[in-house]
């Protein structure tokens, strides 16, 4: 690529390759831009809008926006961080995010990003939606209270696992995650702990059973360092070592949770 393929991000020169979006180039250069629905292993999606930056003065999602030579990108500014905080607050009030009782706490990207953006309260009135918990699967549980509709599990299951275990249904504020079973239960899908989809949830929806709270407070991913200093937190398996479900007994009978 030619030398002219650079843009500036908060004054810093960032090189980029053809095809890279702003956040991809920034990440490659070690510069953090807050994000939730973006995961470097997947095609950018552009829905959470946390990665919003100002590119040549215009606000845009940096995960889907391609840079142009000499483009001036602003990210870590008071104005944009205020907006990101408001978006986080929207996600917090839209669902039921009770961190103290969540196994993902300390390893949760939503929580860590909110720390990074100094979110001190949800600010808006809570929606307190009535959402389900699906404990039907012997090894994994789904707590829909925490879903932020990033669709990483949808993409992982469809594009990597070739399974379509997850999908979004509904519209607008009634959008919600569903699973590929007539019963609506995870146990009745072909979901497996070996699936990529089992390991991409940035929040605490898709959780492996019986391994929660094993890492002491103080030693969890984002206790030690803020998300901005944690390289590529996605894809990590923060709730313990990845299980080998092949060694687990089959589960002919399953119970709902």
């Amino acid at each position: 690529m030619s030398q002219s393929n650079t843009f500036t991000l908060d004054g810093k020169t960032i090189p980029y390759n053809e095809g890279q979006t702003i956040i991809q180039a920034a990440m490659a250069a070690g510069v953090y831009i807050p994000h939730l629905c973006f995961n470097p292993e997947f095609k950018p999606h552009g829905s959470c809008k946390l990665c919003t930056v100002k590119a040549n003065g215009r606000q845009t999602a940096s995960c889907t926006q391609h840079p142009a030579p000499g483009m001036v990108v602003e990210s870590d500014t008071i104005e944009i961080n205020d907006e990101r905080r408001a978006l986080l607050q929207m996600l917090f009030v839209e669902g039921n995010h009770f961190c103290p009782s969540c196994e993902k706490s300390g390893n949760c990207q939503l929580q860590a990003t909110a720390y990074e953006m100094k979110m001190m309260s949800p600010h808006f009135d809570q929606f307190f939606p009535d959402r389900m918990l699906d404990a039907s699967h012997p090894e994994y549980l789904l707590d829909f209270n925490r879903c932020i509709l990033c669709s990483l599990c949808v993409r992982a299951s469809r594009d990597v696992d070739g399974k379509n275990v997850f999908a979004l249904s509904g519209r607008g504020i009634k959008s919600h995650l569903i699973v590929n079973a007539k019963s609506g239960r995870l146990a009745d899908t072909d979901f497996s702990g070996d699936d990529k989809a089992a390991h991409v949830c940035p929040v605490g929806v898709i959780l492996k059973k019986r391994v929660g709270f094993t890492i002491p407070i103080g030693q969890r991913s984002f206790d030690e360092q803020p998300i901005s200093a944690t390289p590529h937190p996605q894809g990590a398996c923060p709730v313990g070592p990845r299980s080998n479900t092949a060694t687990l007994p089959p589960h002919p009978t399953v119970k709902g949770g």
Binding site: H97, F98, C99, K118, F128, R131
Partner: protein
């Protein structure tokens, strides 16, 4: 030191629908309490057992709102305190008590006083002395204006100390990495 004696700031605290864990964490500031007492004087608080708060500089609220009494106390604090601080998860987002919010209150009262095993002639207490429960548990900022929030379940004593000392120093309180946490 013989600096002129400044009027001490008045601080009031209370626990609404909370577990007093935030107050325990407050006490966890340990010997720094002595430094704090140089600067502040406690009005209504579980620490003083004063029942109603007078004009105060800072009010600290633990817990959310689950009943009518919580609302009265919160309003008393808002009316009397120049600065109101929401302390801990329950005050900030309803916390654990708010996990009843997906159930109708009628179902909950039915379950607790009528339906549960062993309750033959259970009745729902109706003594006027008792505060009535709200249909939903609310974070306190949904009912009165809150000036500052210290998240955590409970917030660490260091976080509480940092916010209070920042405020006493006339600074905007700010919590850095490690001090701001929601669990």
């Amino acid at each position: 030191m013989n600096t002129p004696v400044k009027a001490k700031l008045k601080v009031a605290t209370t626990s609404l629908a909370g577990c007093f864990g935030c107050h325990m964490s407050f006490l966890d500031i340990d010997e720094r309490l002595l430094d704090l007492l140089q600067l502040v004087e406690f009005d209504r608080s579980p620490l003083t057992d004063i029942k109603h708060c007078g004009p105060c500089d800072i009010g600290i609220i633990e817990g959310g709102l689950c009943n009518a009494e919580n609302v009265h106390v919160l309003r008393e604090f808002r009316a009397n305190c120049k600065i109101l601080i929401a302390l801990g998860a329950c005050a900030i987002n309803g916390g654990l008590p708010a996990q009843r919010n997906h159930l109708p209150l009628t179902t909950i009262l039915e379950e607790v006083y009528h339906a549960q095993h062993g309750l033959v002639d259970g009745f729902i207490p109706n003594d006027p002395e008792l505060p009535l429960p709200l249909d939903k548990v609310h974070p306190i900022h949904e009912v009165v204006k809150i000036d500052y929030f210290i998240p955590g379940c409970p917030p660490s004593s260091d976080a509480i100390w940092k916010v209070l000392t920042d405020l006493l120093a006339g600074k905007e309180p700010e919590l850095g990495h490690g001090l701001i946490h929601y669990d």
